[in-house]
């Protein structure tokens, strides 16, 4: 494969490290918010370990605390997390054909924005071992951060915590900018998505649409347009 480092379990663990660090600050905030809102620590840990999704579990927890209805909870979770469906679909074309059903059932639990992004960045197809490693390190960080946030509430000064809010987005920028520099269609897809997303955010009425839908709409429109305009030639060299 292109002479790059093999995609082993160990490489997965290593590639998951930056995500893990980013997750600690996000889940730290979650742990604080949830315990301060009145949830017992065991419930906070249970939510964090069974969901592993930032926006989705933040919103869900707020609904639990504010006494939202079950239906409301299900719909909110669905809408906020619907983008994972697109990611999972994209990932299904990236994973090794030899991946078993059981492996798919287990690994799909760990599809998050960041893990998806790093997985798609690799050359060629990815196997179960690599993906497992790539999920384990962030999962550990996610769990640990929640625990720290839930127990030692004021461990990090507020100034550091607000600054860390940008870390995840910095990571996303590091993923999308380099390919955009060399590939015009990628730059086009990104530009369309950015413009649409800003429109949805800043236009009256449109800004009432939930963020989960906005991401789906922007990504579908931008990718479809780029795909029509610049179809990708079959890249199946190593299959």
């Amino acid at each position: 494969m292109h002479g790059t480092e093999a995609l082993t379990f160990k490489k997965g663990l290593k590639d998951g490290l930056p995500i893990c660090l980013g997750y600690i600050s996000v889940s730290f905030t979650f742990g604080m918010m949830a315990t301060q809102g009145g949830l017992p620590l065991w419930a906070v840990m249970l939510i964090t370990m069974s969901n592993m999704t930032s926006a989705g579990q933040f919103a869900g927890t707020e609904l639990i605390l504010s006494g939202g209805h079950y239906i409301e909870l299900v719909v909110t979770t669905f809408v906020i997390n619907i983008r994972y469906m697109l990611m999972s679909l994209s990932l299904s074309q990236k994973v090794d054909g030899a991946m078993t059903s059981l492996q798919r059932l287990v690994l799909s639990f760990g599809v998050t924005d960041e893990i998806f992004a790093v997985a798609m960045k690799q050359d060629g197809s990815i196997g179960a071992r690599y993906l497992l490693g790539l999920i384990l390190t962030p999962y550990t960080g996610w769990t640990l951060g929640t625990l720290l946030g839930g127990t030692a509430t004021c461990l990090l000064p507020v100034s550091v915590r607000t600054a860390l809010g940008i870390a995840i987005y910095g990571m996303f920028i590091a993923i999308i900018v380099p390919p955009a520099k060399h590939t015009r269609p990628v730059a086009l897809a990104i530009a369309i998505a950015v413009v649409l997303s800003c429109l949805f955010r800043w236009t009256p009425f449109l800004n009432r649409i939930s963020g989960g839908w906005v991401i789906i709409i922007c990504a579908v429109v931008a990718s479809a347009y780029a795909a029509l305009r610049y179809p990708v030639d079959d890249p199946e060299v190593q299959e």
């Binding site: 939510i47 069974s50 579990q57 979770t77 990611m87 987005y169 590091a174 922007c218």
Partner: protein, 106 residues
């Protein structure tokens, strides 16, 4: 606290999130050969991340001013092909410094 309710809510959230993630990966076992869909899926990661980052990044810190500096730092570092961690921590550091300076003058 109503423990059964917390448990049911947690279960529902986890279930919905899992089904969304699991279905496509479990169902689409074969490579899709349709050229349009293949191209579409190739652009999806970039479009998704772009839509998630903008304009949300401007609201991710203490105030929009520090966020703009952080964004500029991230773009510059990423343009120079720096790694994920470097860009993430670099922009965080810039935001931190800008917010300290602003706090000093306010």
């Amino acid at each position: 606290m109503n423990y059964p309710r917390i448990l049911i809510c947690t279960f529902l959230m986890a279930l919905v999130t899992y089904i969304i993630r699991m279905l496509p990966l479990a169902i689409f076992r074969k490579k899709i050969h349709n050229r349009f869909i293949r191209s579409f899926l190739a652009y999806v990661p970039y479009a998704v991340l772009a839509a998630m980052t903008f304009p949300e990044i401007l609201y991710s810190t203490g105030n929009p001013y520090s966020a703009v500096f952080g964004l500029a730092a991230a773009l510059l570092l990423a343009y120079r092909d720096k790694g994920l961690l470097t860009v993430a921590l670099g922009s965080t550091a810039v935001v931190f410094v800008v917010e300290q300076v602003m706090g000093f003058f306010s």
